[in-house]
């Protein structure tokens, strides 16, 4: 427990002193929302506010996905400069290191997501307290899933040159397949099938359910799938950390 606390404390302190990263994580969601919202909204048949409301959960997903995965990618930097070794030789269980990294990544991703949450009234979205609780719960689950995905991936890499590849070959397709920007139930079959294995699809759908009250997947199914992803990815990350430098 103390080990987990140490890992999270270290990362949060590092975020706090890294003002550039902190400020950009506050501005980034605004860009996502207004550029996507006004750009795509103008050309959408759903039109104006309606489309903005529709993509709001998608933008939340986009922000959570990229922020948490990039927070996790700092592990690769740490490994390159040798800092990770100092953490790995500490008498902390490997599960605590993996969970700590996942939790800290999720918390870091929730910073920009909270900015988006505060903007809700400005977008003319009036959520009941119950819906708001649902939305926050869905966001937490999404943040932890994406962070686990990031940590399980980043733990394996030795070099930062893979970042753009991850971003272009993994994150963007995951995001575009997820139905964050368009309704999945009207998408072609091949796309719908691919979305079935995309955790982003379940996360966005769950958040959309809280905002708009309708979902593609049953909410309980989404929760189960995301929890499953978290368990498997945490196990994978723990295994990599346990192997030390021998991987």
């Amino acid at each position: 427990m103390r080990g987990l606390f140490a890992v999270v404390m270290l990362d949060l302190k590092r975020l706090w002193v890294d003002r550039v990263r902190l400020v950009s994580s506050l501005i980034q969601p605004l860009l996502y929302l207004f550029v996507l919202g006004s750009g795509l909204g103008a050309s959408s048949t759903l039109g104006g506010k309606g489309y903005l409301h529709y993509i709001y959960p998608g933008v939340l997903g986009l922000s959570l996905l990229f922020s948490s995965v990039f927070a996790a990618m700092l592990i690769v930097f740490d490994r390159q400069i040798g800092f990770l070794k100092a953490v790995l030789v500490a008498p902390v269980s490997r599960l605590a290191i993996a969970l700590g990294k996942i939790l800290s990544g999720a918390l870091q991703a929730l910073v920009p997501a909270t900015v988006l949450l505060v903007l809700l009234p400005l977008l003319g979205l009036d959520l009941s307290p119950a819906a708001l609780v649902e939305l926050v719960g869905a966001m937490l689950l999404a943040a932890i899933t994406f962070s686990a995905l990031g940590v399980a991936t980043a733990a394996r890499f030795r070099s930062t040159t893979v970042f753009p590849i991850i971003s272009n070959a993994v994150l963007l397709p995951m995001f575009f397949l997820s139905g964050a920007l368009y309704p999945l139930d009207r998408a072609p079959t091949w796309l719908r099938l691919l979305a079935h294995v995309d955790p982003v699809a379940y996360a966005v759908d769950l958040m959309r359910g809280a905002v708009l009250g309708r979902t593609v997947y049953p909410p309980l199914l989404s929760i189960a799938v995301l929890t499953g992803f978290i368990v498997v990815l945490t196990w994978l990350a723990t295994r990599v950390f346990a192997a030390g430098e021998d991987t």
Partner: protein, 325 residues
């Protein structure tokens, strides 16, 4: 092996360690034992296997064969017990540059299971001990090289380890910073700590109680600095000539066994001072400089391997009297 409870286990013990990376055989059967309270140096050129051996002993790598015990605990099966009892200064920096010195130490304390309060108290104690109080609030990245290394040492000492691992710990430091660092290490040994260090500077290995010379993944000699030097036998004769290759050839013809190094032609002789005038008179090339000295660790390595230690001596030259202490 079984440790009798009466005799405490050695600080460190390795048996038949091998490490292979694919086709590369980095360690080829390492056996060694470090006593408690001992300062033990692993000396060898770059690529000899020092860091691999270090990483295995420090629980970061698994050996392909053999086993190692640190403070009585197996480095693979009892990693956590080992990790709780050792402190490590790595070759690479292990500080978060943007965090203050104080925060770096505090966080490491948390990693070693100290409570928040205990970690704070321990950081303050270490900062005082190592004379780092003035820089406590400064960002780690803004320190000088010597200060950074002392903070690394403080970081390694956070959990009050019984055994300290130092991997090329003073690489790239100037003479004063290096001296200050080793003074702190000796203080730790004086207080009952054990040290296992790697280096390719012979003068860093010199103050160690015992030294293991490593080359191509094997320990080629092990003993106190005096024992190792005695292996060379007699004294060392160093001749810098206009043509060292020709000089060596001539010496070989006359029944000597010269080694050519960057410094010149090296001879190990039982009576070097008596031989010197004979050689000076007979050599077919002009001798620019001749030197007779007690064997150094460098000479031991050269004699055993026929090659010089990379990096050469760490100190440029002894300072003239009257220079800064």
């Amino acid at each position: 092996m079984i440790d009798s409870p009466a005799a405490p286990s050695p600080a460190l013990e390795a048996r038949g360690l091998h490490k292979r990376y694919g086709a590369v055989h980095a360690l080829r059967g390492i056996d060694l034992s470090v006593r408690r309270g001992e300062m033990f140096a692993l000396l060898g050129p770059n690529g000899a296997g020092k860091t691999t051996l270090f990483s295995i002993l420090a629980t970061l790598l698994r050996p392909s064969e053999g086993e190692a015990r640190v403070l009585g605990f197996d480095t693979v099966r009892e990693r956590v017990q080992v990790r709780q009892r050792i402190g490590i200064v790595f070759q690479e920096p292990a500080l978060e540059g943007k965090l203050s010195v104080r925060d770096n130490l505090y966080l490491m304390g948390l990693f070693y299971g100290l409570s928040s309060r205990a970690a704070k108290a321990r950081s303050i104690e270490l900062l005082r001990m190592l004379g780092l109080e003035e820089v406590a609030g400064r960002e780690a990245q803004k320190l000088s090289g010597g200060q950074k290394r002392r903070v690394e040492l403080a970081r390694a000492l956070v959990a009050t380890p019984e055994l300290l691992f130092l991997d090329e710990a003073t690489l790239g430091l100037d003479v004063d910073a290096r001296r200050q660092f080793w003074a702190e290490v000796r203080r730790y040994v004086g207080a009952g700590g054990s040290v296992f260090l790697t280096t390719h500077y012979m003068d860093e290995a010199e103050p160690a109680d015992r030294i293991a010379l490593i080359d191509h993944g094997r320990i080629i000699a092990l003993g106190s600095p005096q024992e190792l030097k005695a292996r060379v036998g007699g004294g060392v004769l160093l001749l810098a000539t206009d043509d060292d290759a020709q000089a060596a050839a001539w010496l070989r013809e006359h029944g000597h066994h010269p080694e050519v190094s960057e410094r010149g032609v090296l001879l190990v002789e039982p009576e070097p001072a008596t031989l010197l005038p004979v050689l000076l008179a007979g050599l077919p090339v002009r001798t620019r400089r001749a030197e007779v000295h007690e064997p150094s660790l460098e000479d031991v390595f050269l004699k055993l391997t026929g090659r010089a230690l990379e990096g050469g001596p760490a100190k440029p030259a002894p300072r003239a009297a009257g220079g800064r202490p």
